[in-house]
């Protein structure tokens, strides 16, 4: 069922049930919803919610889920070449976590009435997006470290506030994810530290990776506040807790001393501490690149989606086999099982 049709059905339900009093009921629901959000209470799956709130959440949670799944690819790219067994184990665990995070998030999105198959279909056909950062390639082993330090770092900066998002299942999924994510960032940082302190070639590899991933990481926070169309409503609904620029600034301030400890430089000559503001000033972001990559012209856009579709399409016979088996043996979700 297309999202719009489902909303219409739901609306028809309410109208049909509360015939005649529909308008009044809706505004009472709206008032209660607004009050709950204002009071920092959680909205739960069976609560009434504005259709636009539901639609915005489905889109945001789904795109977050898609990002986790697509995000597996640039890192999985290095599993078979990991240069030590310990690093290999860490990387495999990290990529596994990302699959798990995607699953938690699809689960949260489904509480809003959209099935995973439908969401995946939207990803595969480009109707829903994923974080643009994953359209960049991992060219060297050091990129794995840069992703852990910068990309996961930026994700954490974004995600911690979401643990207080107004929608219960999303907030709870975020709590689970944040707990696991801090290990990812630490591992990335540590990987870069080893390289930075290693041979001259390793140090150069680390610096090169940071030079390529820094600006795209800043772009992860989205366009500047004055160009961000939907932010105001998302803030009002407490789906979004801080502005793009605010989070970007927070991230920069955290990274500068970390870069120093790493013995690596950040590729921004304008990066300097501003005593008056109490923050680091930083140089202009190339928003043309951001929009270009967002539109599909990034280095890896086609490749990422093609790979995802390949996995999905080639897996169809497996999923069908399991479903057929369940149908034959009458075990297809007809009762509770415990262990």
């Amino acid at each position: 069922m297309v999202e719009g049709d489902r909303m219409a059905t739901a609306a028809a339900h309410r109208t049909a049930h509360a015939d005649g009093a529909a308008q009044e009921d809706t505004s009472a629901f709206q008032a209660a919803f607004d009050a709950a959000v204002a009071a920092e209470e959680r909205i739960e799956p069976r609560d009434w919610m504005p259709d636009a709130y539901r639609a915005t959440l489905v889109r945001q949670i789904a795109q977050h889920a898609h990002s986790e799944i697509i995000g597996m690819q640039p890192e999985a790219n290095w599993i078979t070449r990991a240069p030590s067994l310990r690093r290999k184990a860490i990387l495999m665990a990290k990529v596994q976590d990302e699959a798990g995070h995607g699953l938690y998030l699809y689960s949260a999105a489904e509480t809003l009435g959209t099935g995973r198959d439908e969401l995946l279909d939207k990803l595969h056909t480009g109707r829903q997006k994923y974080s643009s950062i994953f359209n960049y390639p991992t060219l060297t082993w050091a990129d794995v470290g840069a992703i852990g330090w910068l990309v996961d770092g930026a994700a954490i900066t974004n995600q911690v506030p979401l643990c207080r998002c107004s929608y219960g299942p999303y907030a709870r999924a975020m709590v689970r994810i944040c707990k696991e994510e801090s290990f990812h960032q630490r591992q990335g940082y540590e990987l870069l530290l080893s390289l930075s302190r290693g041979t001259a070639e390793q140090h150069a590899m680390a610096q090169d990776a940071v030079d390529r991933w820094w600006w795209p990481s800043l772009m992860m926070f989205g366009p500047p506040d004055d160009e961000s169309a939907h932010s105001a409503q998302s803030m009002a609904w407490k789906i979004k807790r801080h502005s793009n620029d605010e989070l970007r600034q927070r991230f920069v301030d955290i990274c500068v001393p970390q870069a120093e400890s790493l013995g690596l430089t950040l590729p921004d000559p304008a990066l300097v501490w501003n005593e008056e503001r109490g923050h680091h000033d930083f140089g202009p972001i190339d928003w043309t690149e951001f929009h270009d990559v967002l539109k599909g012209n990034g280095p890896c856009n086609d490749q990422r989606i093609a790979r995802r579709r390949q996995a999905h399409d080639e897996g169809a016979w497996v999923r069908e086999a399991a479903a057929a088996h369940a149908a034959k043996h009458g075990n297809a979700g007809t009762g509770a099982t415990h262990a």
Partner: protein, 95 residues
């Protein structure tokens, strides 16, 4: 989901003796056996779980605590609206 039918299951985990099972989330599986194993993998791989229950979402009946609750959703008694709860006639496109 369409012809590759992997329905939705709710997962409950009891992480220690003395506690009760709490709702951990959901997952898709074709049958109870795989649901249990997937739940173990997804929700307890950090050693968090001792006992796991998996229940098909369609088997859960939910109610609102208070009928006068302004949030009472009259349409269903399901834990949440999910496409598998709608009966879709065969052969209908785009559903």
């Amino acid at each position: 989901m369409t012809n590759t039918d992997w329905p939705l299951w709710e997962v409950f985990v009891r992480s220690r003796r003395g506690l009760s099972h709490t709702h951990a989330g959901s997952l898709h599986a074709p049958d109870a056996e795989l649901a249990l194993r997937n739940a173990r993998d997804l929700y307890t791989r950090r050693g968090e779980g001792v006992s796991i229950w998996v229940v098909p979402s369609s088997a859960i009946t939910a109610s609102s605590p208070d009928e006068k609750d302004p949030f009472f959703e009259p349409a269903a008694d399901k834990p949440y609206r999910h496409p598998t709860f709608y009966d879709i006639p065969e052969g209908v496109k785009h559903l």
